[in-house]
Symmetry: C3
Subunit: 174 residues, 3 copies
């Protein structure tokens, strides 16, 4: 159960851009053991429905974990060759870290340090949120600053980066 | 009055990205009979001014139709070989369907079913609206979800897809 | 102190996309005399911190000017061969012009007229702000319309245009 495809992947896109479907297709095509790490918390009915929809689409061949905060520890605990791990998504992780007032820079640095050492193939999905008008509220501005910084950090360590729009991938790196 | 260029086109872009101008240039260069289908309703002065500006730019060689809701019926009624139809824009159609509480999935499915059967060349213009911060109001979130789904559906059926920024096209498909 | 690289450059990107770093790398690599023109006004602590961070990153080899409004006059005053001028950023210039109720079309036209005559190499950085939901407030809508129009104008005159996401450049022209 090995693959010629190695290295981490970052998949960026807007709302309903098809980024999760693209990521899942990449994972399924890899032939590796598939693990899904959900960072989202089902804090309302809208989110619960979205998580259930994604889970139904993936089917029973995936192992599913939920980890809203300790993402790097979670990834280290399941790291193994022959495994592909889909992390969906980085923006929800950022949201959760902010809610808990964690130190963002050190959390991001831990992820950056871990990425090149991973035996598993890591596929990160994230929302690009920085292309609209500057938000009026401070927390939203901080959120998009954190998300933007994290995207730069992960993209720098990733072997491939895709930008998805209308379900179509645009390769930005790799 | 035939053209070697066939298949539908989706042109995505942000506000004032030049997407309508790009679409109009594509239409003009086709040598086909030109029809413009406006989906927007002139519900205020800002919108009226924008519609008038677009109409003035196109000039008298275009046939112009206005159809805020029954887009697929409208396209079927005017369908003919040797004709190119510019639909401007899908996001306003989505807005109008939402206002009338139509079933979005079935409306989108009708368009998807029609597209491969069209004798006319269809050029769809639409706003990418999913790359900013998650909107606080529910209707805006629903709107960008609907728009995102529709873009994926139309892109899957289109022969060519372009993303426009600063007046410049980036080919994503075709 | 000449360079084989000529012509203006437009660098578009979202918040924290890495567009300023990319621009600075382009400038540093040019081997030309480096001038930085800041269009931002430090009207609050958040902005002051951001300006200081950028200035610290650039280091002492840059000449730094601040010009919130008379951008074209400023560029003409320092124009010289063997010089590269980084203008950071166009969107803050648009904001300042709007605050002063200047005539946007004529300001933009002056810049467009100047660009092809410049002896210095001009590197413009700007925020793409038109890819989110239509803002509810009129001034924000006007702002993104002005920014979008300016991007089209500058892109048309530029030799190279880049779209930056996650720190990665996507060449759109040149």
């Amino acid at each position: 159960m090995t693959s010629s495809v190695t290295g981490s992947v970052l998949i960026l896109g807007g709302a309903r851009s098809g980024k999760s479907s693209f990521a899942e297709a990449l994972v399924t095509a890899s032939g590796l053991d598939m693990v899904y790490v959900a960072t989202g918390r089902a804090w309302d009915g809208e989110m619960t429905a979205r998580i259930a929809e994604h889970r139904g689409r993936r089917g029973p061949d995936w192992e599913t974990l939920e980890e809203p905060l300790a993402l790097v520890d979670c990834l280290k605990a399941i790291d193994a060759p022959g495994r592909v791990v889909l992390i969906d998504c980085l923006t929800l992780w950022v949201t959760n870290l902010m809610m808990e007032e964690r130190d963002m820079a050190s959390e991001f640095a831990r992820l950056a340090d871990y990425m090149p050492t991973a035996a598993a193939r890591l596929i990160f999905v994230s929302n690009e949120v920085g292309l609209g008008i500057v938000p009026e509220n401070r927390m939203a501005r901080d959120f998009r600053d954190h998300a933007g910084r994290l995207h730069q950090i992960v993209a720098a360590k990733a072997a491939e980066v895709y930008f998805i729009a209308a379900g179509l991938p645009l390769k930005m790196k790799g």
